[in-house]
């Protein structure tokens, strides 16, 4: 209870300005990152205290090639407005060719999204290595901007 009372004035002080902000729609972006490059890269972005979009939720997979198309579709179905798939740079895959498979899947899923009337920019594919924390920050910020401009994805079930 005490925490509620102490935190109450805090929200009230910012309430005037922030009430709109709090109720405003915020994009939900799900990111599937490979264990060996991109997840480590995102970790580096955090350790380096880089500012990257708070709208991105990270899910670690062993390889971007592990990213089953069902994951992407399921993410959209469950309320994601955008999905990022990120793996090692071409040629650097820990499992030799998993990232190429991810690339081909993303290309094909985008075509399916177009058929669904969903903007294909909602699915982004990037390559981020373990040393590219800054690029990860850039990718997420860019994606957040794209999704904000597209607005919420309201699937009809």
């Amino acid at each position: 209870m005490t925490t509620v009372t102490t935190s109450a004035p805090k929200t009230e002080t910012s309430a005037g300005a922030a009430s709109d902000k709090d109720t405003a729609w915020k994009p939900k972006i799900v990111a599937f990152l490979c264990n060996w490059c991109s997840y480590t890269g995102a970790d580096l972005a955090g350790v380096s205290r880089l500012k990257w979009s708070p709208y991105v939720r990270v899910i670690r997979v062993m390889c971007s090639g592990r990213m089953d198309p069902t994951f992407v579709l399921e993410a959209f179905r469950k309320g994601a407005d955008g999905v990022i798939v990120s793996g090692c740079h071409p040629g650097d895959c820990h499992y030799v060719e998993g990232n190429y498979k991810a690339m081909r899947r993303v290309h094909l899923i985008r075509r399916l999204l177009i058929d669904y009337g969903v903007d294909p920019r909602r699915l982004k594919l990037t390559w981020v290595s373990a040393s590219e924390g800054d690029i990860w920050a850039e990718v997420t910020n860019e994606m957040a901007e794209t999704i904000k401009s597209l607005g919420p994805l309201r699937l009809e079930k």
Binding site: M103, R111, V118, D119, L155
Partner: protein, 355 residues
């Protein structure tokens, strides 16, 4: 004499107590009904073991006959067809009440099938085409079906046409599924035989939700063609290529849904050089037939260059219709966006990927 005559007339009593069978079609083509007759002379065994109480395509029973029955009076109802209007919904709910065991029979009832392809468009677009734009339409006054109309002073009511086509289990509780477009005759008989065995010999029912009359693997597992390591450089539509009679069709670049389709059909289409279209629905342990196919295809396209990949993918002319030809009602993403369509880009952002 009269006594024995009475006895005789009462003799058929056990026959009248035969389990009751109903067959119904909702949004379907009628192929499933024909498929039931494809079991040939065994249909006589069906008649011998069941009392057919409702089968609009073949026998003269009316909806009110079903309405008059007790709840649960029908032992088995084979329901084919998707649900795409109010009437389909009413009949699905009615038969669910009256039947002890309701079976989604055929791809339409299981997963939406061809009728559900209209989920890739909208009701408005469908009506525009059917009643106005199609070349064979002669409709100068622009008449469209109305739910209520007055004809010669009488009120005529038509069932409401839905925006989205549904599978049977999205409307009512379904006990078992028999996939296929249509289910193959030998599988239908296998299912009916199982049911008769259960009824006669008191065998336990399979667990609810079981897919009957189908296998536990994929079409590839029963396909007689020889498979090698797949490397696809170009996709061909069936009319663009004369396929090798013995080699895997997908190996030859023909979009065959075998890897993402449940077996049970004896791989009939690939056996005669036609690619599998996916009518037996999604294989066991998967959630989305289209996603499974995308996954399989992406693994075998033979290119690591994004631009070349896109060129190869251009050979798939209708992704949603190819990957979900029979399962769009059950697709993860649901139906096409209609309320607030986004402006789809002609081409995915390739430069961005290449980076």
């Amino acid at each position: 004499m009269s006594e024995s005559a009475e006895k005789q007339s009462s003799d058929p009593a056990p026959a009248a107590a035969k389990p009751k069978l109903a067959l119904y079609w909702a949004a379907s083509c009628g192929g499933c009904e024909i498929a039931v007759l494809d079991i040939e002379e065994k249909i006589l065994d069906v008649a011998a073991n069941f009392d057919i109480v409702f089968w609009p395509v073949a026998m003269d029973f009316k909806t009110k006959d079903v309405e008059a029955m007790e709840d649960g009076e029908i032992t088995l109802c084979l329901f084919n067809g998707a649900i795409r209007n109010d009437d389909n919904e009413y009949m699905a709910k009615l038969l669910r009440r009256k039947a002890k065991v309701l079976v989604a029979f055929g791809s339409c009832a299981c997963e939406g099938c061809i009728p559900a392809l209209s989920n890739a468009t909208s009701k408005k677009e469908t009506f525009d085409w059917v009643y106005h734009k199609s070349p064979s339409t002669d409709n100068a006054e622009g008449v469209e079906p109305q739910i209520k109309t007055k004809v010669n002073g009488f009120d005529l009511e038509l069932p409401k046409f839905w925006e989205t086509v549904r599978s049977l289990d999205q409307i009512v509780d379904v006990d078992y599924y028999v996939p296929g477009c249509p289910p193959q005759a030998h599988q239908i008989w296998a299912v009916l035989e199982t049911v008769i065995d259960i009824l006669k010999n008191g065998k336990p029912l399979p667990p609810k939700g079981t897919v009957l009359g189908a296998g536990q693997k994929t079409v590839c597992d029963e396909c007689p063609r020889t498979r090698e390591e797949k490397k696809i450089k170009k996709f061909f539509r069936p009319h663009e290529i004369i396929p090798d009679p013995d080699k895997c069709l997908l190996d030859q670049g023909i979009l065959c849904m075998g890897p993402a389709t449940r077996d049970g059909c004896d791989a009939r289409c690939p056996s005669v050089c036609m690619p599998c279209r996916g009518c037996y629905g999604l294989p066991p342990n998967s959630r989305d037939q289209g996603a499974k196919m995308i996954s399989a295809l992406a693994s075998v396209i033979d290119s690591e260059d994004p631009e070349e990949v896109d060129k190869i993918l251009d050979g798939i002319v209708d992704p949603i219709g190819s990957f979900y030809r029979f399962s769009l009602a059950k697709a993860t993403l649901g139906r096409k966006l209609t309320q607030r369509p986004e402006t789809p880009q002609a081409q995915p952002q390739l430069e961005e990927v290449a980076k």
